[in-house]
Amino acid sequence: MTDLRDTVLTHALQAEGTFGPGKAPAGIKRIPKGVDGLATEHLVVNIGPQHPSTHGVLRLVAELDGEEVVNVEVAVGYLHRGIEKLGEHRRYHQLGTLMDRGDYVSGIHCELAAALATEQLLDVEVPPKAQWLRSLMGEINRIASHMVWFGTFGLDIGAMGQFLYAMREREALVDVLESVTGQRMMFNYVRPGGVLDDITPDAEQKLRTFMRTIDAYIDEHHALLGGNEIFQKRVRGVGIIDRDTALSFALTGANLRASGIPYDVRRDKPYSAYGELDFDVPLGATGDAWDRYLVRMEEMRQAARMIGQCIDGLPEGDVMAKVPKVLRPPAGEVYACVESPRGEVGVHLVSDGSDTPYRFHYRAPSLFAMQVLEEIIPGNLLADAIMLVGSVDIVLGEIDR
C-alpha cells in the first residue's frame, strides 16, 4: 500500500489547477490508457476529518478511479486527548471518568472495564446487586449504543428517517440512564467495588414501559430499513470480512461474530451477572455488511431479553462494597475485559502500590475495526466506502483516546 499521507498533507482539498492535464499533484501516478494516448489519473479525495459521515473525526484518504476506490488509508489522531497518559496521574476511582470519554456512546461498558481491572488488583468482592445493576445498565447502554449505530448507518446510506426513529428509542433509554446515574452520557456510574446507586422506582417504571414496546420497535426498524430492497442491494455481499481476516485483524464484537466466529466476552469470560443470564450469541455466515447489520439487530433483541431478566431477577442488598476512599492496590498487573457494543474493551493496569496506576492501557475494539477498513474498502465504490465505515461501527473517541 502506497503511503498517500505526504501527498495529501501538502495538497489540500482544493489546490488550484488540480484537474487540468499535466497538473497531477506530486505523488499521484498517472495511468496511461490506450485511447488516443489520453491519460487518466486517480483522484485523491480527503474524506474527513470534517465531513458529514466520518463518525466523529475519522479521515479517509481515498484514491479514486472514477467512482471506484482503489486505495484507502485511514488517518486518525484528531481526537487524541492522552487518556492513557492522564490515567497514570489519576487515582483509581478516576479511571472510570476517563474511560467514559473514550467510547462516549457506551460509557457504562468502558467504566466497567476499568472498575473490573481495579477490583482484580484490589481483590474486592462486589455485592450481587451491584453485579446485576452493572449488567442491567450495560444492556440498556448496549441498545442505546446500537440505536446510534443503526441511525448513523441509515444516514450513511442516505436514509435520514432511520436516524431520527432510532433516536426515539435511544431517548427513552437515555432517560432511564439519566434517572439512575444523573447523566445522559459520561455516566461515572460503575465504580471500583460496585455502582453509584440503586435503580430508582421512576427509572424502573420507565424501563418497564419501554420494554413492552422495544421488540415491536426493533421489528419496525428492521422492516423499514432492512426490508428495503435498495438497502439490501447495497449491503449484501459488500465488504466481506472472512474468518481469517477477522482473526488476523483482531476484530471483536459484532464484526467478529458476523464473520461466523462465536466469541462473546459475556459468554466466554462471564463477568457481572452474565453468568446467570440467559442469552444467545447471534452469528453471521459470510461476514458482509448485511451480516453485521443482522447481528447487531439481533443483539438488540438479546439485550432486551437480558434487561427483562435483570429487572425481574435483581437481588436485594448493597450496591457498593466496602472500599477505602483512596485505593492503593498491591503491586501487580491485570487485564480485565468486557463486551461493549463495539467489541472487547480491555483495560490493562499495572500497579506499583501507589495511589495512581503505573501504567493504564485501554484496548479499544474500534481501533481494530477501523484498520480492517483499509482491507475491505478498496475495490468498492465511494458510496460503499461510506457505508462500510458505518457497517463496522467505530467510535473515534476510543480510537484516538
Binding site: L13, Q14, E67, G158, G161, L164
Partner: protein, 336 residues
C-alpha cells in the same frame, strides 16, 4: 420593444410564482420531513415557524458572496444562473386552467422537457468550475444520471402524446375531462399505469431527489456540486431545485391526473376553481416526493445506471410499442 414590454408581465408572474412557490415548498419540506421524522420542524420564527423560510432567504441575501480560490470565475458565477433560468422558463407552458397560463404552446410538452434538460448543464458547470473534488464527482454523477434518465422520462410520456395526438398540455388535459362508463375518470394514470410508474421513477431521478440524490449525496459528497456555493448563488440553486419539483409534479398532474379538471364536478363550479385544483394536485404530488425523500435510502450509482439502462428504457420502449399497436388497431384514424 413592444414585444419586450408585452412579455414583461408574464415573466414577472413566473418569477413571482417561482419565488412564492420556493418559499412555500421549503417550509413545507421542513414541516413534512419534520413530522415524518417525529420532530416538529421550524417552530420559532412566527407562528408554527411560518416565517422561518423568509428569515432564511434574508440571511442568504445578506451573506457575503464568497468566491473560493482556484475557481473558474465565469463558469462559477454563471452556473447558478444556468441552473435557475431554465427552471423559470419551464413555467411558461404549464396550464393552470383552460385560460390561465403564461403562453400557449403547441409543443408545450416538448418545450418543458427541453428547458428542464438544460438544468444539468448548469450543475455540471457548477461542479467543474468549483475546483472541489466533491463537486466534481457530484457533477459527473449528475451528467451520467441525466443521460440515463432523460430517455425513459421522455419515452414514458410518448404514449400519452400518441393517444391525444398533441403536444399541447392544454389539449392533453382536455382529453382527460369527464368519465368512462360513468364512474372511471378519464385520467391517463388509469389507462397508462406503466407509463406513470416509469415517469415517476425517472422524475425522481431528474429532480435529484432521494433515493436518486446522487449528485448531492450528503453523506458521501458533502453537498455534491453545490459544495462551494454560498449566499444567494446557493439560494438560486436551491430555489431551482424546489421549482423543478413543482414543474415535474405539475407535469405529472397534467399528463396523468387530468390537470385542472375534476371528474363528477360540473363545469360551472370547476371553471372558477380550476387553478386551485391544479395547484392542489401538484402539491399532493410534491408531498409524495417529500414522503419518499424522508423514507428511502440512497441507491448506489451502478444500481441506478442498471435500473435506467437495463430496465426502464427497454420497458418503456416495449410499452410504447404496445400502446402504438393498440392505438393503431383501436382507432386507425387517431383517437383524439
Amino acid at each position: 420593444m413592444s414585444a419586450v414590454l408585452s412579455a414583461t408581465p408574464p415573466v414577472l408572474a413566473a418569477i413571482g410564482l417561482m419565488l412564492v412557490n420556493g418559499v412555500v415548498l421549503i417550509y413545507m419540506l421542513r414541516k413534512v420531513l419534520g413530522h415524518l421524522h417525529l420532530r416538529l420542524g421550524p417552530m420559532h420564527v412566527g407562528p408554527k415557524g411560518i416565517v422561518q423560510t423568509t428569515a432564511d432567504v434574508l440571511k442568504l441575501l445578506s451573506k457575503e458572496d464568497i468566491k473560493p480560490n482556484g475557481v473558474d470565475r465565469w463558469m462559477y458565477v454563471l452556473a447558478p444562473v444556468i441552473v435557475f433560468v431554465p427552471s423559470l422558463m419551464a413555467y411558461a407552458a404549464l396550464p393552470f386552467s383552460e385560460t390561465l397560463r403564461i403562453t400557449r404552446l403547441d409543443t408545450g410538452l416538448l418545450y418543458t422537457f427541453a428547458v428542464l434538460s438544460l438544468v444539468p448543464l448548469g450543475v455540471i458547470m457548477a461542479g467543474w468550475s468549483s475546483a472541489n473534488k466533491y463537486a466534481l464527482i457530484g457533477a459527473l454523477r449528475a451528467a451520467a444520471q441525466q443521460v440515463a434518465y432523460e430517455v425513459p422520462l421522455l419515452l414514458s410520456v410518448l404514449p400519452v402524446v400518441m393517444i391525444v395526438g398533441s403536444l399541447d398540455l392544454g389539449e392533453i388535459v382536455a382529453f382527460q375531462t369527464g368519465v368512462w362508463m360513468g364512474v372511471v375518470p378519464r385520467w391517463f394514470v388509469l389507462l397508462l399505469l406503466p407509463s406513470f410508474v416509469i415517469f415517476m421513477i425517472s422524475a425522481l431521478c431528474e429532480l435529484n431527489q432521494t433515493p436518486f440524490d446522487m449528485s448531492e449525496a450528503e453523506s458521501e459528497l458533502v453537498s455534491g456540486f453545490a459544495t462551494e456555493y454560498s449566499s444567494m448563488k446557493f439560494g438560486l440553486i436551491f430555489l431551482s431545485e424546489f421549482s423543478n419539483s413543482f414543474v415535474i409534479s405539475a407535469l405529472a398532474v397534467t399528463l396523468f391526473f387530468g390537470g385542472w379538471t375534476l371528474p363528477f364536478v360540473p363545469e360551472s363550479i370547476l371553471v372558477p376553481i380550476a387553478p386551485i385544483v391544479f395547484v392542489t394536485k401538484t402539491y399532493i404530488g410534491i408531498f409524495v416526493f417529500m414522503w419518499i425523500r424522508g423514507t428511502l435510502p440512497r441507491v448506489r450509482i451502478d444500481h441506478l445506471m442498471n435500473l435506467g439502462w437495463k430496465w426502464l428504457i427497454p420497458t418503456s420502449l416495449a410499452w410504447l410499442m404496445l400502446v402504438g399497436v393498440v392505438v393503431k388497431l383501436v382507432a386507425p384514424g387517431g383517437v383524439g
